[in-house]
Symmetry: C2
Subunit: 441 residues, 2 copies
C-alpha cells in the first residue's frame, strides 16, 4: 500500500477530468467553494476542523505507479488523462477559515482556485476531512462549553473507525478537550494522552483489592481507580484502604451519575480523601455534562457521543464550483438553479462583524467579477476570516502537525469568546448570528 | 509514519499490561468476547462486518522503534513493558462469526483467547473496526432489502472521514450494495466502482448541451447524464437530443423523487428512449428507497445515510473479559456486577437454530469450565456460527483481501435468506429472533 491519498476520490472526478481534458475546459480558471448550507441539528454555530490534516493529505495527493496502474487496468480514464495525472500535483491556491474558527450557513470555509483540472479532483478528499472533523469539533465545543472549567477527555476511539478515531481525538482537542485516550493521536499531534483502567483489570484478579494494589504498585498513588465493577461503596472503601487518602482519583462508569457522584464524594470526604478526584464516563453527551454541573465531578470522559458528532456525524458541507472563466477569459459566477439546494455563485470574502467584541453577523462580500472584494477597512469593527493556506501549490506548513493543531485550539478558544450569550445554549435553534451577503458587482 | 497499527489503542490497555506484567497476572490465560448488548435503533438484526479488515490490521499490530520511542518518551509504560512490547505479536486464537453473518444481542461475535497480555491490547482496534463496519453494513443491508432487485451504489465518501469512507464502501458492498464511487475501495478489495457527473461539470460549460456533448464524447453514449442543474424537463430533452435514444441513463439529484422520476420516465419513453435508465441520488435512506418501490427508478445512489449507519454510526459492541484462569489454573467465568450493564461471563458456542430453513433462535451455549460446549450434533436443525479466524497467532488469510470481501458478501446474501419475514420490516422493533443462553456447567 502506498501512502498516496489520490484514490481517496470519487470516480466521477477523474472521468470529468478526462472529458474536460478532451474538450479543452480542463484549463479554465475556476473557483470552488467548500461551505455548509445549514448547521446540522439546530446547532447555533459550527467549528471548522480538519484544515491542518487536509493540507498534509494534499502533500500526498500524487498519482504514483500503483494508482495509475489501477486506473489503467480498470479503464477509469483514458491514456491522455493518465499522462496528465502522472505529473499532477495541486498548483492552485486555497484560502479559507483558520482551523478552529467558527462558521455559519454560507461561510466560505475553503476557496479553492486553479484550473478546473487542478481543483475538481480535490472534492472528495476535502469534504471527507472537513465534514468529519468539523462535525466532531462542533459537538466537542458544545461539550466543552457545558463542562465549563472542568477538563474533558476524549475516550471514544472504540466507537469510531480506527483512523477516524485518531482524527476525532484531534478535532475534540481543538474544540476544547484536554486530552485523549488515543495513543496515535498523541504521537501525531502531541495531544496529551490519559487513561484509567478497564473492568477487565479488576476481573482479571481474584479480588478488587488485589487489582487496586497492583495498579498502584505500577502507576503510583496518583492513578485513577475504577470502582464500579462490583459494589461502588465497597469499591471506594477498598480504594482508599489500599491507596490511602492521597489517591489521585476514582472513576464511575455506571449508574445515575448525579446520585452516585454525590454519594461517592461524601464517602471520600468522610474517609479523609478530600483531594481524591471523581471522573465520570458513562455515555456522556453535552446534555448529560450540563446536567452534572451541580454535581461534585472533577473530570469528564466522553466516548461515543463526541466521536460521532453527538447525533450529527457529518457536517453536511458541500464543494461547489462558484465561478469560472469563459472561453474569452471573462469570469462567470455559477450556481445550480434547482430550487431546493440553492447555493450562491461568485467568489467571496468573509468578515465577522463585532460590536463591543461580540459577534453580530457573518458578512460575506460576493463579487462575480473579482474586483475588490471588500476589505477589513470597510468594516472597522470586523475581523477578516480568511487566510492563505496554499499559495500556488505552496502549502503553508504552519497549519500542519502538532504546532498547527495547538494553534487551532488556541484560536478556537479565543474566538469562542466572541459568541453572543444565546449561542451557548444547547437547545436547537437558529444560527447565533445571521449570514449577510453583500453583492459588489 | 510507519504502517504499524499498534498505537490505534487506548492508553489504559498498555498501562494495564504494565501493571499485569509486574504482578504476574499478565500470563493468566484469558478469554475476551466482543459482542453487542443490544441492536442499535430498534433494528431487527445486525450484520457482522470488519472481520477481514481487522485480521489485516492485526498483522501490523507490532511495536516498532517509532512506537516504542513514543511510549518511552511520554512515560506511558516502564522499561520492562517496553521490552515485552518489542517482541509482541498476537499469539493467541480468535474464533468468531463469519464476516457477513447476522448477529443478535449477546451473539459472541469474536472470542479472543490468549494470555491477558496477548488479548487486552487488542480491545480498541477490534472495537473500532467492528463497531464502524458493522454499523454501516447493518444499515446497508436494510437498504438492500428495501431496494429489492434494483442495484444500489455507495456514494457517501464525502460524508465520512477519508479512511472510514474506504471501509464503509467495503461494508456496504458486503451487505448487498453493487458498487462504490470510492476508488481506493475499488483498488483494495476489487469492489466495482461507478460514477456519473457533478453539477460543476455542467456549470463549467457555457451551456448544458456542451457539457453533455463533451461527456458523451469522452465516455460514450452509455454514460449517465446529470439532468437537474437547471430545468429537469429541458435537461432531459437536451440529453436525448445530444445522445440519442441509446443514452445509458440520467441522474436525478433533487426534487420530490417519486414525482420527478415518474415525469422523467414518461418523458424519456415519449422521446423513444425507453431503455435509458434512471438513477436517483438525493439524500436516500432505507425509508426513501422503500417509498420509491413503485416508482420507475432503475438505480439508487446512497450517500450520507449509509456511511453514517442511517442514524446509528456505531454498533455499540463491547470487548469484555468473560473468563480467565486463577492462580491454580482453574477457569473462572467473570462479569461486571453493576446492574445497568449486565454481560454474561463464560466461554460460549453459538448456533442459529432453524426450522424449515427459517431462523427461530440464536442459541448460545455457555460453559465456565470449558467442558464440551455443545456441538452442531446436539442441534440437528442448527448451524454453528463460529469459525477459526486466528489459530495460535496464525491468521487465516482466506478472510482477508478481495477474496475475503467477496466471500463475506456471498455469505451475507445467503444467510439473509434465513431471516423470518418479520425481520425485513424497517420499523423499530425487537430483534427478529431471541437469543437463548444455555448454561452447561
Amino acid at each position: 500500500m502506498t501512502s498516496s491519498t489520490a484514490l481517496l476520490t470519487d470516480r466521477y472526478e477523474l472521468t470529468m477530468l478526462g472529458a474536460a481534458l478532451r474538450d479543452g475546459t480542463a484549463a479554465r480558471p475556476s473557483v470552488f467553494e467548500l461551505f455548509a448550507r445549514r448547521l446540522s441539528g439546530g446547532r447555533r454555530f459550527g467549528v471548522v476542523a480538519g484544515t491542518g490534516r487536509l493540507l498534509s493529505l494534499l502533500r500526498d495527493f500524487r498519482f504514483g505507479e500503483d494508482e495509475l496502474r489501477f486506473l489503467r487496468d480498470n479503464h477509469v480514464v483514458d491514456a491522455g488523462t493518465l499522462t496528465y495525472l502522472e505529473d499532477y500535483r495541486f498548483t492552485g491556491s486555497i484560502h479559507g477559515y483558520r482551523e478552529g474558527e467558527l462558521y455559519f450557513p454560507g461561510s466560505p470555509i475553503l476557496t479553492v482556485e486553479g484550473s478546473f483540472a487542478d481543483a475538481v479532483v480535490l472534492e472528495t478528499l476535502a469534504l471527507s476531512v472537513m465534514n468529519h472533523d468539523s462535525a466532531v469539533a462542533t459537538a466537542a465545543s458544545r461539550m466543552s462549553i457545558a463542562a465549563g472549567e472542568r477538563p474533558l477527555s476524549e475516550m471514544g476511539s472504540r466507537r469510531a473507525a480506527e483512523m477516524s478515531a485518531v482524527a476525532a481525538a484531534r478535532a475534540a482537542y481543538i474544540a476544547g478537550f484536554s486530552a485523549t485516550s488515543n495513543l496515535e493521536a498523541g504521537r501525531r499531534w502531541d495531544i496529551p494522552t490519559m487513561g484509567t483502567a478497564a473492568h477487565s483489570w479488576t476481573l482479571l484478579h481474584d479480588t478488587e483489592e488485589e487489582a487496586f494494589r497492583a495498579q498502584i504498585d505500577s502507576l503510583g498513588t496518583d492513578t485513577t481507580l475504577l470502582v464500579d465493577t462490583y459494589d461502588i461503596r465497597e469499591g471506594v472503601n477498598t480504594a482508599i484502604r489500599v491507596a490511602g487518602t492521597e489517591l489521585g482519583g476514582v472513576r464511575l462508569d455506571s449508574g445515575d451519575l448525579p446520585t452516585v457522584a454525590a454519594a461517592v464524594r461524601t464517602q471520600l470526604d468522610e474517609l479523609g480523601a478530600t483531594g481524591t478526584r471523581i471522573t465520570v464516563t458513562s455515555d456522556l453527551d453535552e446534555y448529560a455534562i450540563a446536567a452534572l454541573a451541580a454535581s461534585p465531578v472533577d473530570y469528564y470522559g466522553v466516548g461515543t457521543s463526541v466521536v460521532t458528532g453527538s447525533g450529527y456525524p457529518t457536517a453536511g458541507m458541500v464543494y461547489k464550483l462558484v465561478a469560472r472563466q469563459d472561453a474569452d477569459g471573462g469570469w462567470v459566477a455559477v450556481a445550480k438553479a434547482s430550487t431546493d439546494k440553492g447555493s450562491k455563485g461568485g467568489r467571496k470574502a468573509a468578515f465577522r462583524v463585532l460590536r463591543d467584541g461580540v459577534a453580530t453577523s457573518e458578512t460575506v462580500v460576493v463579487s462575480d467579477g473579482f474586483e475588490a472584494l471588500g476589505s477589513a477597512a470597510e468594516h472597522p469593527d470586523s475581523r477578516p476570516l480568511q487566510v492563505t493556506l496554499v499559495d500556488e501549490g505552496d502549502i503553508d506548513a504552519s497549519f500542519e502537525g502538532a504546532a498547527g493543531t495547538a494553534a487551532a485550539r488556541a484560536h478556537h478558544l479565543q474566538v469562542r469568546e466572541e459568541l453572543p450569550v444565546r449561542a451557548l445554549a444547547l437547545s436547537k435553534s437558529d444560527p447565533a448570528i445571521p449570514t449577510v451577503f453583500l453583492d459588489r458587482d
